[in-house]
Amino acid sequence: MKLKNSRLMLTIAFAFILTACGPVVEEESITAVGSSALQPLVEAAGEQYGAENVGKFINVQGGGSGTGLSQIAADAVEIGNSDIFAEEKDGIDASKLVDHRVAVVGITPIVTPGTGVTDVSIEELQKIFTGKITNWSELGGKDLPITVLNRASGSGTRATFEQWVLEEGQNSIITQEQESSGTVRQIVANTPGTISYVAFSYVNDDVEALTINGVEPTDENVKTNEWLIWSYEHMYTHGEPTGLTKEFIDYIMSDDIQATLIGALGYIPTSQMEVERDVEGNTVPVE
């Protein structure tokens, strides 16, 4: 009996060892890690690319811009996705990284419908997020206290929003924080008087996007830089890309993908931008 049992166990143990040895096929794969805002695009493009090129796989993982940048700086993955410039992030050696700006994302303030306010100025936004305006009635809306909702510290969306709304050295009030745009949208939709900010693609009927100085948050206004709150979606490589990494980035930058997939997923193609922006936020027109 004892013998039989141990034989059984041995068989099971070997079965486990043997399953690890699959057939050997020529396969190539790269890994892209980082920004959750960019993830849907890279995933969709990766799937399409994999379908068109048999045996080539693009593994896409989330984890946030911080993860993307630190992984690519450590040369641990092939592509690091980020919402912000590598130079803006502390503790990242950006000198060895090569930036590929695959898309642009516009960010808009959103509020719960029914505040009575649909248009604000940048100065008013600034006062809301620094706690100087605390009631919608101060902006001509209903007598309803303003609840400010932030994304977590270090989020690319928050960094972009604060870069264009707050002045140098100003800090947002300490307030509620949530970790994802989906949660932010849900809370804004359900909680009267709440203001926060999300990428254009997250705006739906449950929330109300504000216009700023009468400028509407649309792709067209981002392209002309009339809407200031936007950022690039970066795919960083460690040094100039080679092999499959280069092929894949070229694929995403190709006219075909830029014209179809990127718009369909709610991003703005970099190729359609009429301005170009650098790390400091200076813009120059693109001819």
Binding site: L10, L69, I92, I174
Partner: protein
């Protein structure tokens, strides 16, 4: 001969399996401490533990986790106040007063509660408790009280399960002896059986504390997550665990190290809680 060889081999297999868990805990210790302790020493232990300002994106950044430590303690304490009386009374009921048919429903229900993923509890609270709070307390409805109520519910299965089995483990002679002396059923249970199960019940509470302090995904959805000192039940709160999960994805450099250091503090908390559990259990065994 062959049998002996096989026996020896399989002994090895079992031994390695047993070592895996020990090895895992040692590796976790090493990595967490190696990642977090240098930052703590660099930043200053007292500034880190007693600093009241957490603002990693400011220049200069400040990494004081006292609001989160107090937040964790306050929420856990509240959850104990909510969950322990309900849990212990339920376990006494289930062990001594519950009709058999009801027990057949209650027991699987409690087990199911333990198996529900915490994110599901979070969604439940977001949809059910938060709107009620918003109505009665005002604001967003995401505050310390919401977190306390949810955690109070979440620790129930831990407390009920362990307390019930420790009450059932009390030798039946205690109960029959008390009955023979003329005590009623209620008196025998409350004055003889439950006190005899005291160490088991206290252990269950301590495990409940461990569960409450370690809970993450449910709390992050409903606590508001403001890094402020917990001053009022109706204000938001951020715990040690939610601080890590909220910012880890975006953190790099010093910020990331500060979050790992937060994990060190949490780890020490859990060590203390489990140590207390072991001591009480040992005392009970004597």
């Amino acid at each position: 001969m062959k049998t002996k060889k096989l026996d020896g081999f399989m002994k090895g297999v079992f031994f390695v399996s047993a070592l895996t868990s020990v090895l895992a805990i040692i590796l976790i210790c090493i990595f967490i401490f190696a990642g977090g302790v240098p930052f703590i020493l660099d930043y200053g232990l007292s500034e880190f533990l007693f600093g009241q300002k957490w603002s990693p994106s400011n220049t200069p950044a400040s990494f004081g986790i006292l609001p989160m430590i107090m937040g964790s303690l306050a929420v856990t304490f509240g959850a104990i106040i909510v969950g322990v009386p309900i849990g212990i009374l339920t376990s006494i009921f289930m062990a001594e007063f519950c009709p058999v048919w009801l027990h057949k429903i209650l027991k699987p229900a409690v087990n199911l509660m333990a198996a529900i993923p915490s994110i599901v509890y979070g969604f439940f609270a977001l949809q059910a408790i938060v709107p009620i709070m918003r109505q009665f307390v005002g604001g967003t409805g995401m505050n310390m009280l919401t977190a306390i109520i949810l955690l109070g519910i979440m620790i129930l299965p831990t407390i009920i399960g362990l307390s019930e089995s420790s009450i059932r483990a009390v030798p039946r002679s205690y109960y029959t002896g008390s009955m023979a002396l003329g005590a009623t059923h209620e008196r025998s249970v409350m004055r003889v059986v439950v006190p005899a199960a005291k160490s088991g019940i206290v252990s269950s509470v301590i495990l409940g504390i461990g569960r409450a302090i370690g809970e993450t995904m449910a709390v992050v959805l409903i606590a508001g997550n403001q890094p402020i000192m917990p001053e009022s039940l109706t204000l938001g709160v951020r715990t040690l665990t939610t601080n890590i999960v909220l910012e880890m994805a975006y953190a790099s450099g010093e910020h990331r190290e500060a979050l790992i250091a937060t994990a060190v503090v949490l780890f020490v908390f859990i060590l203390i809680i489990n140590g207390t559990f072991l001591i009480i259990k040992k005392k009970g065994a004597k």
